[in-house]
Every structure is written in C-alpha cells, then in structure tokens.
Point group: C2
Chain length 347, copies 2
C-alpha cells in the first residue's frame, strides 16, 4: 500500500471522479450499455430504437442542504427534482426513481413523513413512479440517494458532445436566482443565530428563495422542443453554474464558445439582491449554480422556431476549439470564462 | 405540523419502509413499470418479452461496516456484490451498476483508490459495467450508494410471491458463516483495543471471516437453474437471515412453511466457532444474515434435477397459510419461526 497521502481537495470533485473512473472497462458496451460515465445520465438498451436513461445523485445534510433554513418537505422535493433534471438534460422525460434514505435517530417518523410528502409531491407533479429504495440508520444527519430513470428515442437523445461551430447557445428560464436565494437564507440564518427572537425577513425574496428551495426540472422545455421537432445538438443541466456547464459541453464537443454577457437572462429580483449584497449579478449567473435550467445548443436552422419563446434565451454561439471559451462583457471586451463550479471538498 | 414525536425504532426497518411508501401511486404501471416496491428489485419494461431489473442499497460506515476490521478494498467489493445479489435474487444476471460515494476529508485519494480497486475487482469478476454515479463530501464517514441493474426474460423472473403449497424450499451454499465471522472480527477488535500490541488471530477463521468480508452473489446458481430449465416459484437473497427471508416469501406468497432444522447447511467452521462462543449454530444460521445465499422454492417436479447438487440444499417445504411458519428442531419438536433480522435503528 502506498504511504503517500494525497488530499481529496487537490483533485477537486470532477478531477476525483475522473481519477477514480479511469480505465473503466465495459463488458456490455456493444449490447446493453450504450453510454456509461461522462454525461448527465447513462444510456442503456431498451429496444433497437429506444433507450433507458439512468442518473444518480447524492443529497446530503450539511453539504447540499441545511435544515436550519430548508423545510424537510422542500428537501424531499428538491432531492427528487434535481435528479429528474439530469434525465431532462438528455432531452428526455423522466418516469421512475428509487429513493434511498439514511437517517440518524435524531429524526422522528413524523420528520420522515414530511420528507416523504415532498418526495411524493414531486413524483405527482412530474408523474414519476417511486419503484424502490433502501432505508437505514446513519451515524450523522440525513443522506438521500436518488436514482432517476426515463425512456427516450435514440435519435432524440442530446449528449454533451454534439455541439458544432456556429450552433446557437440557449438557456431556459433565468440564472443566478438560486445562488442569490441561498445568500439571503444564509444571511437570515446568521441574523437568527445572533438573535433567536428575530423572524426571518423572506417576504421580499420569495422568488429567489423559491429558486433555491424548490427547483423544477425543465421537462416543459423538453416537450416544447419535441413539439417543434428540435433535437438540441448538445445539452446539460445547470447545477454547477453556467460557466462550468459551458466548459463541459465545449470540452466534450471539442469546440469553443462565445457567450454574450448582456444576453444572459437574470431575474430582476436576482439582479437587485445581488447588487444590494455587493455581488456582481453576472457572476451569480455564471458561477452560482443550482438553477437546474437547461443549457443547450441548436443548429441555426432550428433557431427561428424558438426565437420568441418566453422561456428560452439565445446567449451566444459555438466557435471552433482554438477560439476558446469567452464571455463578451457588457463593456464589449471579451474575457476567458473560468469555471468556479462547486467543490464540496473545499470547505 | 404534528407535535407528536414517534421514534423510528418503534416501527423497525421494514415497518418504516412500509409506512413511508403506503399509498404509492404509479403513473406508468401498465407500460414502463412492471413491478415497483416490494421485491429484491423493481422490474421495468425492456421489450414485450424482457425486463430491466433495478435494485439499490446503501452501505454506510459505522452501520454496515467498521473500518477497524474491514479493509477498504473489501468494503468496495462487498458494496458491489451485495447489490448484485439483489439482481440474482430475481433469478437474473446483473450487468450494470452506478456507484455514488460520499466521504469526509479524513479519507485520502489513496484510500479511495483502495476502495475503487475493490469495486473494480467485483465488476471484473462479475462482468459488470460501471455506468455512472456521484462523488461528494460527507459530514462524517464513508457512505456508498449503489444501484444494480440486469436484464431478464419475463417468464424467468422469480418474485417473492409465487411459492405454492408443497413446493420444496432450497438454499444455496451454507448459512451463519458471515455472522460468526463478524463475531470473531468484533472479538479481535476488542482484544486489539485493550492491547494494541496484540495481532488479530484470524488464521483459524479464514472461511467465516471471508464470508463476512467478501460475500459473493450466487450468479453461479442462477446459471445452474437456467441450465436445468428450472424457474424457482419464489426467490429472495439472504441478507437479513433465513428466518426473516422465509417470512417475506410466506407473507407475500400467502403460504406457510416447515423448515427442518437438521437440513439447514452450516459449515463445520461456523458450527465450531458458534459452539466455542456459546452461540447456538442454528440461531446463527436462522438469524445471522449477510450470507447473501439464495433462498428459493421449486415445484416438486423440478426437484430431481437438483437433488445431488453440491451447492443447493432442500431444507423444507411450503405449507398452506393456516399452518404458519415452523421450524422442526433437531429434537423433533416444531417451534414457530420468528424473524430477528437486522434493525439498524435499534442500537
């Protein structure tokens, strides 16, 4: 056994995943396994024409959520919807989940009922079958592990690696809200810790707090694209921030990108709150994460059909790889985009 | 919100799962979802004739394993094989897994490499594709969540609910070894804690310690059954002990059972170690758990083909439901079987 000790945070989350999964051997690559690690979901053979998509995420107390400001019902809801978002990010509609839960005995049956109310509300909202799972004790805190599944036609699946030069880069909804909502929740928690008599002041921040506590997978956008017979050339969901996700698409598609800062959709409330907290709204949108909107690229010929769509915004275009990944700032200079993303190992 | 506080351990693990999943609504029951919660794996439509099986289990430090006596490589291996066992328990061969890991920064990259060496060794051994997962920080300890998948012909799947009166009850391998191995490991850990100079004395207990630290899914038995054209009328894997699993089959099949104590296969080393530790070997076999052998029932007509199989033992027969679930003791009296199983919430 090696005596060397390398700290996990020297690799970062993506680096660690890549390191541990190197030389991954597949035994069913030309039969049952159509795509393994490296996209929002794995792709398994259903029929010749169709595939099952499978994606899994952990959602952990103290790392991904804080019970001081997130109600258990919201935690259950979000644990489901962020997993559904991974299936949507393949341009598909999710249909099943498994839910595994580990809890310490600090939690009562009633607390778990609240959590499950959120899980079941999300399942009902998105017509998801809860097909299995595991329930066990934990040493500390609440740990939720969800696997989401869905079916898609092979020729409708959007991967991260299909973007081509001159494709138009689009995002759904607006960005940065979930991050600013989190900042407000953290601020109010600190106020409350300093003075437990104070009630949290959240009324003015409903929109952004809702973006943080109750994200929705954009299956409506997937249906809209299907209705218009558009298959995005690439797609990913925005869990770690626009910059990080754009880099994933560019790396896997071997292309560059130019994003026009002025075009990035930012909600008025996100904008105002960011300014009031001395945060650059564009930074919140680029690096904030957790909006669970879709980032995708489409061929130019498909653009006309989406041009006036209220929930889809073109924010730039794909370039050739040597051009790199750039942001055109509101001051009309271009700066290279760097992914901050989230590194849960750096605390 | 209710003010009542009900402790989780008043329901127990199975009671809690049942409670939280009551009134589970399915939206794709007559299309994509063929079987949801309630068996070793969920069953999803592949084609008209074939299904995907999906099963998921948590494997948590301090609850399911102890790093004081389990090497990380073994933990990785076992985390995979106990999930593969759930697919085998549907009378099917597993082919894919996802692996999600949460670790505290107490773990180094080298430690995770050891863990993954075990995971990859199990994948290679059983020809399993590692198709996805998640890696994140944890607040405390190591948490592994694995989802296993496999494909089966619909008419070959064995559920828990198909046992019929007069079917013969069979088990693979031998029982109680994993439990006695655990007792030895716990004893040696205590000796070591009392005197860190002492080296653990495990040489004499290799077989049972191996049963605890390196369980194997009985895919060999599944292949053997297929070769003999036998589809068990019911099947389950023995993770919580023979008694508990027999009760699951009887409850879901609405039958009774008579198990002949003398016929339960117990390895010589298991037997000896149990006696030396003042444990009834039959109790270890009935309630020990973690052997990951298969418990299954077959029609009488199928018995001849398996009669002399070295790894399959008939241990009793299915009766009508009013007869209950009984053990015929070596003293030729019959006693009702009560499941101890494992309740991780009772510590």
């Amino acid at each position: 056994m090696s005596k060397t000790r390398t700290e996990i945070n020297t690799l970062g989350e993506f680096g660690l995943i890549e390191h541990l999964n190197q030389n991954n051997t597949l035994f069913h690559e030309h039969s049952l396994t159509r795509k393994a690690i490296g996209d929002d979901a794995a792709v398994l053979q259903k029929t010749e024409q169709e595939s099952w998509l499978v994606s899994t995420d952990l959602f952990i107390e103290g790392i991904h959520f804080d019970l001081a400001y997130a109600p258990l019902k919201n935690i259950g809801y979000k644990a489901v919807t962020i997993n559904l978002s991974d299936i949507a990010a393949m341009n598909a509609i999710p249909s099943q989940i498994t839910v595994s839960i580990a809890v310490s005995n600090r939690f009562s049956v009633e607390a778990l009922e609240e959590l499950y109310e959120g899980i079941k509300t999300a399942c009902k909202q998105y017509q998801i079958d809860l097909i299995g799972g595991d329930t066990t004790a934990s040493q500390a805190g609440l740990i939720i592990s969800i696997t989401a599944m869905g079916v898609a036609n092979n020729d409708k699946i959007s991967y991260r690696n299909g973007a081509k030069a001159n494709d138009i880069i689009c995002v759904s909804g607006d960005l940065g809200g979930a991050y600013m909502g989190l900042q407000v929740l953290i601020r109010e928690k600190e106020v409350w810790l300093a003075n437990p008599q104070m009630q949290p002041q959240l009324t003015d921040f409903q929109y952004i707090v809702g973006r943080q506590l109750k994200p929705e997978p954009r299956t409506d956008i997937i249906k809209e694209l299907a209705k218009n017979n558009i298959v995005p050339t690439s797609m990913i969901d925005i869990s770690d921030g626009l910059a990080s996700e754009m880099m994933h698409i560019c790396q896997q598609s071997n292309v560059g990108a130019l994003i026009v800062g002025d075009r990035i959709p930012i909600h008025e409330k996100t904008y105002e709150t960011a300014l009031s907290m001395q945060i650059n709204p564009l930074t919140a949108a680029l690096n904030g994460g957790e909006d669970y909107e879709l980032l995708f690229t489409i061929a130019q010929k498909d653009y006309a059909a989406l041009e006036n769509h209220p929930n889809i915004t073109p924010i730039g275009y794909i370039t050739t790889p040597e051009k790199g990944i750039y942001l055109q700032t509101p001051q009309d200079t271009t700066v290279p985009i760097q992914a901050q993303g989230w590194n849960h190992f750096q605390k």
